[in-house]
């Protein structure tokens, strides 16, 4: 296979591997991606910083390995030579880490500090191209909250790419990297994957290390991959998943070989899969074209032999209020560390310490981050704790129990990923509540800790991608990938 004959927007991990095995160059491949970034980033704005030196050193190592070892196609790491982008909420040497915030402008993590997921990708052979734009501190559903300007949807530039991992989705969709990493606290991987027409995975809570992830809401935050197809996403998750002694919340459960299980499952009968369809995710507010696309896919899965069962997730309508209490409460504590003392921006001319804290935070944080810090501080403040925070935690249990009950009857649940295709830039930016409702189908999985994925399921008449969400049991990513592959094969 000739690596340089495939457009960067169509490359997959297995293309890269075959290409390198037949004489292709990882250095040339990385250069082609940097050219693609140079050509497109002025319009898409997906990248905040490039780590060219680190990337090229790694690409050269990969090329040397393939030159010196005739068996490299079998011995090289699973991501050898694959150009990958990293959401700018993950710590990575070789480029600044800003969380798309002014308060961390120019912050260079002290060496050798790398997020565990970043180190694992590189150890598997990945070529890390740079850092991807996102909503500030991962707070947003449209990428309009970045201090460095919004990302544009590469499918249609006047539309948002989704958020918060908008850069991660857009860069894969536009052929500026083959796969990428994002983070998902309430839908921030799945919703942009849906808007940009790529695959995005929410791994089970505790499945992937968060060491080196800038914390937003610690009981909800996950790190997960984007890819152009289900198999690439499964390969990526296999590399980053697994216990990390540096993250006390990471699970020690063994990591299955997701790709091998995906291959093995393709010969198993679809009739053994019971797929749940909850009416609560198909109600008022769902765009008719999204409904049509998702219902068509469900019907076809049924025709293939899957058992389709209606199930009820009856507390779904409370998920957004629960989420915005819990996520903001945790964020208000996590973001207290940004105070102008140890790193990042400090407001000039303050004469006292408390003045310095306040001005630094007021100048350094954007409007949405301040709004969430304020809301989180409010719900945790004296007199309101029981009414808001404790209440939200109680309803969180009800939402989680709905899923546990449903998973006694079905193996996976199918819903739309988002109520609409990508909306227009500016369409919701003045209305925080309307923006929050863009996450209505995705926040539930974060609250319950379960696994999920968004997989493309066609396009609207306006040529905007539509995503289908599959939710799976805790630690049952293999079934999620299996169903996602079936959906992908329908397209």
């Amino acid at each position: 296979m000739q690596l340089d004959t495939i457009e960067t927007g169509r490359l997959t991990i297995s293309n890269v591997r075959k290409g390198l095995a037949s004489g292709g160059s990882a250095v040339a491949l990385a250069e082609r991606h940097y050219t693609s970034i140079e050509e497109q980033n002025c319009s898409v704005n997906a990248w905040l910083a490039l780590s060219r030196e680190r990337a090229m050193a790694q690409a050269e190592r990969v090329d040397r390995q393939f030159l010196s070892d005739s068996n490299a196609a079998n011995t090289a790491g699973p991501l050898a030579g694959v150009p990958i982008g990293i959401k700018d909420v993950l710590i990575m040497q070789g480029a600044p880490t800003t969380a798309a915030s002014k308060i961390l402008e120019g912050y260079q993590p002290p060496p050798p500090y790398d997020a565990t997921v970043v180190a694992r990708l590189e150890a598997a052979g990945a070529v890390l191209l740079g850092k991807l734009n996102c909503d500030e501190f991962a707070m947003g559903s449209s990428n309009e909250n970045s201090a460095y300007g919004p990302v544009k949807n590469p499918r249609r530039l006047e539309h948002v790419p989704g958020g918060s991992s908008g850069g991660s989705a857009a860069a894969v969709a536009a052929g500026m990297c083959v796969t990428s990493l994002g983070s998902d606290t309430g839908g921030s991987i799945r919703q942009p994957a849906s808007f940009c027409g790529v695959v995005g995975v929410l791994p089970t809570y505790s499945r992937v290390s968060r060491y080196g992830l800038i914390a937003f809401a610690s009981s909800l935050d996950r790190v997960g991959p984007f890819g152009r197809n289900v198999r690439d996403a499964a390969t990526m998750l296999g590399v980053i998943a697994g216990h990390d002694p540096l993250d006390a919340t990471s699970s020690t459960r063994p990591v299955p070989n997701y790709v091998a299980e995906l291959e093995a499952s393709s010969t198993r009968p679809p009739g053994e899969l019971r797929l749940g369809v909850p009416p609560e995710y198909f109600g008022e507010g769902l765009d008719p074209e999204v409904r049509e696309a998702v219902e068509t896919a469900i019907r076809k899965l049924g025709e293939k032999g899957c058992v389709i069962k209606p199930i009820s997730l009856k507390h779904t309508r409370y998920a957004i209020p629960v989420y915005y209490v819990i996520a903001t409460a945790e964020a208000s504590a996590n973001l207290a560390r940004f105070d102008g003392v140890r790193y990042g921006y400090r407001a000039p001319d303050a004469t006292t310490l408390s003045e310095m804290y306040r001005r630094t935070r007021d100048h350094g944080f954007g409007a949405e981050v301040k709004r969430r810090i304020m809301l989180g501080t409010y719900v945790l403040s004296a007199g309101y704790y029981d009414a808001y925070y404790k209440k939200a935690q109680q309803v969180r249990r009800l939402i989680t129990q709905d899923f546990l009950d449903a998973f006694n009857e079905v193996d996976a649940i199918i819903t739309p990923t988002a109520p609409t295709p990508a909306f227009l830039l500016g369409e919701k930016s003045d209305d925080p509540m309307a923006m929050y409702l863009a996450d209505i189908y995705t926040v539930t999985a974060n609250l319950a800790g379960i696994s999920g994925i968004s997989v493309p399921v066609g396009k609207s008449k306006a040529d905007l991608p539509i995503g289908l969400q599959i939710l799976g049991k805790h630690f049952d990513e293999s079934t999620v990938f299996r169903v996602a592959q079936m959906v992908e094969d329908l397209q």
Binding site: E355, A392, Y436, F475
Partner: protein, 112 residues
């Protein structure tokens, strides 16, 4: 949501200022007004939770407690308490806005 419009959760400017102080934020007058409006709308939406009787529901703080109960979580409690190397001081201090190389420097703390 219509039944909630009866009991609007209004937030006044004094409350916005009190919370801003707790959060170590110094808001401009414009920001205070916007915050008062936005927090009121969001809290009003959150008030839907009061439709549910949760008097017999235990709060859920972490996913791990649910996984523990179903025997699904394999987390080896905490690591052993042994010394390990940490980051070097020099590259850490290089990121500080103001430092003498050993300590972080800040404006005066005692306001008198």
């Amino acid at each position: 949501m219509s039944e909630n419009s009866k009991n609007k959760t209004g937030v006044d400017v004094a409350e916005v200022r009190r919370v801003a102080e707790l959060a170590n934020l110094e808001l401009t007058q414009y920001e205070e007004t916007a915050m008062q409006r936005d927090l009121s709308v969001i809290l009003d939406h959150i008030a839907q939770l009061n439709e549910l009787d949760t008097s017999n529901v235990a709060p859920m703080a972490q996913v791990s407690e649910v996984l523990d109960k179903s025997g699904q979580l394999a987390v080896t409690a905490l690591r052993e308490d042994v010394l390990r190397p940490s980051l070097d001081r020099k590259p850490v201090m290089e990121q500080a806005p103001e430092t003498d190389g050993v300590f972080f420097k800040v404006p005066k703390v005692i306001e008198r």
